[in-house]
């Protein structure tokens, strides 16, 4: 696998494993936005360099799965990060359907948001994209998401 794919996956697998609450999710997001706004970052090559389609598809699948597991952990009510997963013996790392769908939107937000941010040379579109994707984690009853959408 091409090096920038491998490097991003190694970093993401370490970082996302540590996402056990909303504050850590916000930290993860801040870090990824920073990477995507740095032209020389392997994250930018991984998402925006024309590459072998199959390698790229495998990379996106694996990243989405890592995001889905983190999302699943945060959405799952219960004792916490060490939540009991014995109920799903056939899917040792299978996040549930809602978490999978949110992960698709988060990945699309990273991909589409960074495209818009690159042509605008402005991180705001990417942040707006992530605000919308993170609504389940920021909206509490009657409250609108107030993430970092206005952060420059």
């Amino acid at each position: 696998m091409t090096t920038h794919f491998a490097e991003v996956l190694a970093r993401e697998s370490a970082c996302l494993a540590g996402v056990t609450d909303r504050a850590k999710l916000a930290d993860w997001r801040r870090r990824v936005v920073e990477e995507l706004m740095t032209p020389s970052s392997p994250y930018v090559s991984a998402l925006h360099q024309p590459d072998d389609l199959r390698a790229r598809a495998a990379f996106l699948d694996q990243w989405r799965e890592l995001i889905a597991e983190a999302v699943d952990r945060l959405l799952r009510p219960g004792p916490g990060p060490t939540g009991d997963r014995r109920g799903m013996p056939d899917q040792p790392c299978g996040a549930d359907a809602d978490a999978q769908k949110i992960a698709v939107l988060i990945l699309a937000a990273l991909q589409g948001g960074s495209t818009l941010s690159r042509i605008a040379r402005d991180p705001r579109p990417l942040n707006a994209a992530l605000d919308l994707a993170f609504v389940p984690f920021t909206a509490t009853e009657g409250n609108l998401p107030d993430g970092e959408r206005s952060a420059r």
Partner: protein
């Protein structure tokens, strides 16, 4: 259609305009299917059937041609979106807009993506002029989505404090990212999921 050339101070005869349009059409099709980077001027010559001297009469090089393609594709996409979104004022109407885009993409198994988005992915780095034009076009497109969300807000479907322009940007990013995921997967499903989730998140703001 003749703006770029009139900016260069050239006056086009009807036949010249036709030739120029033929070149731009062929280049737009090639760049959509093959990508901007891998499309050569020789490809464009072969596909349009014009001569090399005709091509260089209208465009001094590939960058100039790419800019003309951006203008042409942008005009077409904005026109299509204005027709699709200009009067939408319901979530249901937004879903119909989503259905049309997803179904069009499904016809090609998602393979080619958004005509404007693919250009954005490829030209943004090395051509500031094309990048500015693309940025302006996306702002215009997002403005159409903002219009829809504002009408939803006026009707009380979205709360008064909803950040309309940012939601529109988020929806555009979900659409563009969805296109790119579908393109990579050669399957339209992630595009459908991405827009559906974005719309569901927007709708959930009204439930508060």
């Amino acid at each position: 259609m003749t703006t770029a050339d009139s900016q260069n101070g050239k006056r086009l005869t009807a036949r010249g305009a036709k030739t120029r349009a033929r070149i731009v059409d062929a280049a737009a099709d090639l760049m959509y299917v093959k990508g901007v980077g891998t499309t050569t001027l020789d490809d464009v010559l072969a596909a349009s059937g014009v001569s090399k001297s005709q091509l260089y009469h209208h465009f001094e090089g590939k960058d100039a041609l790419v800019r003309a393609v951006v203008d042409h594709v942008g005009e077409r996409v904005i026109e299509r979106e204005r027709r699709a979104l200009g009067r939408v004022s319901t979530i249901r109407g937004l879903r119909r807009w989503r259905d049309a885009l997803v179904q069009n993409s499904a016809l090609q198994h998602g393979a080619y993506g958004c005509a404007l988005g693919s250009l954005a992915g490829e030209v943004s780095d090395h051509d500031a002029l094309a990048r500015h034009t693309l940025s302006r076009l996306f702002t215009e497109w997002q403005g159409l989505l903002s219009g829809v969300l504002r009408r939803l807000q006026d009707r009380g479907v979205l709360p008064a404090e909803a950040p309309i322009d940012q939601l529109a940007t988020g929806l555009m990013a979900a659409l563009q990212g969805g296109y790119l995921l579908a393109q990579t997967a050669r399957d339209v499903t992630p595009m459908a999921t991405s827009i559906d989730m974005a719309l569901a998140h927007i709708e959930s703001l009204s439930a508060g």
